[in-house]
Symmetry: C2
Subunit: 351 residues, 2 copies
């Protein structure tokens, strides 16, 4: 498998399947682990950095369900490939920085990825489509168990797993869920919901993680604290919170559908009309309009598109994906033109 | 003929025909006349007001080419009918005011209309599609001649025709041309052009005359002074000015078509897409979007719609027209929904 082969692959989080996939895009579990007796990544020298990479590689090769994974030395990747992997949610912006002997393990279904020498020696990610935190956690648990057999993780019985940043110490666990909340946004209930989430010590971020703005009505909710709770408890807590948010979004969708049908249909069909007609379109506007299109499909107002087509459009209209598809560098304007063309061609058969 | 019969009639100015009809919607000539020995309209008593109406009616009935005209007592009209006539450019907002014994003569092709007791005893209007000021003037000249045989117009050899407002004194003549200047607006050249027009003592107004904002890239240009020039000179001057504006708009369209094709097509097709998809649309947005659609047709980018279809949409989506078509009062929201429906149905066959 090469990175370019991913272009035609449907990322796990884009499948548009799984429980509550009308509201939940994907569920993600992340585990931070560090190797004993080696400094944290920001203090690594070259030899130690390589040592971490080699140790993880050797361990990964022994894990059955990681067979066939791509093992990527980040220094071998150009900026476009890095951006491409970020767009697919397979690694963080942080991991694209040129320093620190970074590597990436990419399991072929794109469910599992491991960043090596990001903020911690290992940042393991498990992604599942829809509202499937427990499934993601159960996969993660197996990975952790198997890797523990081959790697000596830094662990203190008093503190739990040690991490670069104290907020991760303990379990090293973060669960997060990507939600699509257009009805809460349209009805201006979203700020009330977000501030309730914040009070319960969860954080909300945009489509592309830490520091990114919420856009296109997408919100990523995750736990803030990894210490003082068992792993199952952390997952249960966020699971319970998300259930409430889903319920509120569902109620608001029903409310809008019943009481503001015309306004809703207008927004949805206009978005469809613009997407079908535009000759120049930015990435941001695309996300906003596709968000409304997705709502139209979820509410059965638009019948001839499936969710995975929309999800795929979300991804292939991102800057690096566009350039990978075209197989050349594109200026911002060229991307806006190409993006519009791809969207028009995808939607032209649908009336 | 009744007012309601006009709904299915194509107003002269909507035909989309005539010289330079890609840029000029319509040419209009207006003549102000007053009857001798009767006070100007704002000082009329009831008896005198009726006297003016009766005198004009008797004169009009003797004019061959005004045969079959509608003679409307404004007091018999409800607000909706008045608004309907304003939307068709057959009378002014001013003339809809409830005071002053007003009447309206409406020639059946909608080329000629005469407001009685608006600002002057007679305000005669001749409308022609496209850039046809001289044709309009020649029709007007004949009307003026014939009416002069039957009516005693207030005239002083030193001043010419006397009018309520001194700006009209002399010839009482105003020529105006409704222009569609999207390329000058898009290229931000319009303010330069408008200020040049102002310096030459011409005025620019919006779609619905005095006091209305320019919208949808429509600009109505007319002469400001009626005194000190012969009628033919006034018409020639505005004709020459408009020719220059047409030339600038044409050059700018060519420039945009050659150098900013993608931006142009994007704007045009997006407008088309929104018009085909919207379920709620305001009158203002409709004008703006139809303006871009018209440009698309003018530039042969959109091939399956003709100009008269677009012009007809401009008119029938106006508030009073919508209510006449539905044959009932509609709230603002109901109009926005009905307007969107009419537009969708008109455009649905076009791809």
């Amino acid at each position: 498998m090469r990175i370019d082969d991913l272009i035609n692959h449907t990322s796990e989080w884009l499948k548009g399947s799984g429980p509550y996939s009308n509201i939940v895009i994907s569920s993600r579990v992340r585990l931070a682990r560090n190797l004993n007796s080696i400094p944290f990544p920001h203090r690594l020298n070259k030899k130690q950095g390589q040592e971490v990479i080699d140790a993880v590689r050797t361990a990964v090769e022994k894990v059955d369900f990681l067979k066939g994974s791509l093992f990527i030395d980040m220094q071998q990747l150009d900026a476009l490939d890095k951006q491409f992997l970020i767009e697919r949610h397979l690694m963080s912006y942080e991991h694209a920085r040129p320093d620190n002997y970074r590597a990436l393990v990419l399991e072929k279904s794109e469910i599992i990825s491991i960043m090596i020498n990001e903020e911690d020696h290992l940042r393991i990610q498990v992604m599942q489509s829809g509202f499937s935190l427990f499934e993601a956690w159960s996969i993660m648990n197996r990975i952790d168990d198997v890797l523990s057999e081959h790697l000596d993780f830094a662990f203190l019985s008093e503190w739990g797993y040690l991490t670069s940043c104290p907020t991760n110490t303990g379990t090293g666990l973060r669960g997060s869920v990507m939600l699509h909340l257009p009805a809460l946004v349209m009805s201006r209930q979203i700020n009330r919901v977000l501030s309730a989430i914040a009070k319960l010590s969860f954080t909300t971020r945009g489509l592309y993680g830490e520091g990114t703005e919420a856009s296109g009505n997408f919100f990523q909710v995750s736990n803030q604290v990894a210490l003082g709770h068992k792993e199952e408890e952390i997952i249960s807590n966020i699971n319970a919170l998300i259930k409430q948010v889903i319920e509120q979004e569902e109620q608001m969708r029903q409310h809008l559908f019943t009481h503001q049908r015309a306004i809703l249909e207008d927004k949805i069909w206009r978005s469809f009309g613009i997407l079908k007609s535009a000759f120049i379109i930015s990435s941001q506007e695309t996300i906003d309009l596709l968000s409304m299109l997705r709502l139209g499909v979820d509410l059965d107002i638009i019948k001839d598109i499936d969710r995975s087509t929309i999800n795929r459009l979300f991804l292939i209209t991102q800057p690096a994906h566009l350039q990978k598809i075209e197989n050349k560098r594109l200026s911002s304007h060229e991307r806006d033109v190409k993006r519009a063309e791809i969207i028009r061609k995808t939607l032209e058969k649908i009336s």
